[in-house]
């Protein structure tokens, strides 16, 4: 009986420290000032099976903006202060090649988390993460083959390219923490379940670099943190 109670308490402690100490949230919006560079149209004429999947012109995704100057595809994460997390989530993240583009353009994941790479196209792709800290790899994936399973052990932002289709470009954001968020269509992000403490929040944009802000969470509260990047005209 006593063992059982102890077990429940221990489980609660392990699963969610936030339950005991209150859970704070950091949320906000990522915006830009100035005029961002015009994204270039991608010419896929050499790969008709991909070109015909797109009814509207496809452009590069180096800087993706939305109404009210919001920035998409910005990775916002706790870079310091987050509790140590020893195990990676068991659920895999998926990176899909469709219409000779990467979906999503920026994929965030935990170190050690399983990454599934899917080829949805009728053509061969060759996925090549240009890792510098992690082990670099380069694998061919013909149409109809099962997904590739990979993982990265160290924290790194990795540029990903396809060796067959030079215009294909994406990023893997491999992070030590599971407290991350990638800004969506409204530029918003949210980092929930944060126990009280002092945190450094970092926002990373592939072209504009990084910004950091320090935030203190005292209890069950939501703190708003906004990031604003200066756009480059070229």
């Amino acid at each position: 009986m006593r063992t059982k109670q102890l077990f429940i308490v221990a489980s609660a402690l392990m699963v969610s420290p936030a339950l005991l100490f209150g859970a704070g949230t950091i949320s906000g919006k990522v915006t830009y000032t100035g005029t961002p560079a015009k994204q270039k149209a991608i010419d896929m004429s050499k790969e008709p099976s991909c070109a015909k999947q797109h009814t509207t012109p496809v452009t590069t995704e180096t800087v993706v903006t939305g109404p009210n100057n919001v920035l998409e595809n910005v990775v916002v994460y706790i870079s310091a202060g987050a509790p140590d997390e020893s195990t990676a989530p068991t659920q895999a993240v998926t990176f899909t090649q469709k219409g000779c583009q990467y979906l999503p353009h920026v994929l965030a994941m935990r170190t050690g988390q399983e990454l599934k790479v899917v080829n949805d196209d009728q053509t061969s792709h060759n996925i090549h993460p240009l890792a510098k800290v992690n082990r670099e790899w380069n694998k061919s994936q013909p149409p109809g083959t099962p997904p590739l399973n990979e993982k990265f052990d160290k924290e790194e932002f990795i540029s990903v390219k396809c060796n067959v289709h030079p215009w294909m470009h994406g990023f893997f954001a491999v992070l030590k923490t599971s407290h991350y968020s990638v800004s969506g269509e409204n530029g918003g992000f949210s980092l929930p379940n944060l126990p009280p403490g002092k945190y450094t929040v970092t926002a990373w944009q592939e072209d504009y670099g990084t910004q950091t802000q320090d935030v203190t969470i005292t209890g069950n509260e939501t703190k708003t943190v906004d990031f604003s990047f200066k756009a480059k005209p070229y």
Binding site: D43, T60, K161, N163, P166, W167
Partner: protein, 274 residues
């Protein structure tokens, strides 16, 4: 038995040489015909190939018939008969063969010069449409100078394919590069001379359009060029014909020959997408 062999040799020679020699006159509409020629210089190359085929076919036939003739003549020879040799020995035969083959090759070279030299020794006209052509693993990219008529300077260190900067342009500092038009398709106006300035980004590649009768290698480190005039509107395939790596089979682009009006519209469209 020997005579039968002579007949077989002659029949095989005739059966293989006749289609080769006569292909130009009789079979040009059937599957042996070369693909349609859409260039102003292509007919000279086709004629040259035809001449070579006819000449080689005739030489082959003559040599085989001569062989057959000798076999036929010597078929009845008894083992006790004296062996006859060619008067003067082998030396005269060797010299005669050298002179004959030499003349043949020289003649083909002299005749062929007008087909080859027209493309390679004659510079492009100054008003030819200049297009920079870059081959890289595993795609071709083309650059038009844009409204200012000037190409921006390429910087190899600024090449960033993920951002579609395939030529390494620096629009932030280089004004001339701002209106350059980069495409993955080679569109050209019909009946206007086009001057392709070619370079490779990485390894050896080749630019081949069979309907244009042009095949030119890209050699890393060399700036090469070809010029031609296309005479027929249509869409043709540009393929890489130099094994360049894993994706070589998939390295292609399209040549789009357009009327002047369509070309201007296309150019406008592409300029707006840059």
């Amino acid at each position: 038995m020997g005579r039968l062999f002579a007949i077989v040799v002659t029949v095989i020679a005739l059966a293989s040489a006749v289609p080769i020699i006569t292909h130009h006159w009789f079979w040009s509409d059937i599957s042996f015909a070369p693909p349609e020629d859409i260039s102003t210089h292509g007919h000279a190359i086709d004629d040259q190939l035809s001449d070579t085929m006819v000449e080689a076919g005739l030489s082959f036939l003559a040599a085989q018939i001569l062989l057959g003739l000798f076999v036929w003549k010597s078929a009845e020879r008894k083992s006790t008969d004296a062996i006859k040799t060619f008067p003067g020995g082998a030396r005269i035969m060797v010299i005669a063969a050298l002179v004959l083959v030499g003349t043949e090759i020289l003649a083909l070279g002299v005749l062929g010069q007008k087909a080859w030299a027209n493309v390679y020794f004659k510079p492009a006209a100054p008003d030819a449409l200049q297009i920079q052509t870059q081959a890289g693993q595993f795609a071709f990219y083309f650059r038009y100078p844009g409204a200012d008529g000037k190409f921006g300077t390429p910087h190899p260190d600024k090449i960033d394919e993920g951002n579609s900067n395939f030529f390494g342009l620096d629009p932030a500092n280089d004004v001339e590069s701002r209106d350059d038009i980069v495409t993955g398709e080679l569109a050209i106006p019909v009946d206007r001379e086009v001057h392709l300035m070619m370079h490779s980004k990485d390894v050896g590649h080749s630019f081949y359009v069979r309907e244009l009768r042009i095949q030119q290698d890209f050699v890393p480190g060399l700036d090469l060029s070809v010029h031609f005039t296309a005479t027929k509107v249509g869409k043709y395939e540009i393929v890489c014909t130099q094994l360049c790596g894993l994706g070589h089979y998939n390295m292609k682009a399209y040549l789009n020959v357009l009327s002047q009006a369509d070309f201007d519209a296309w150019m406008k469209q592409k300029a707006s997408e840059q």
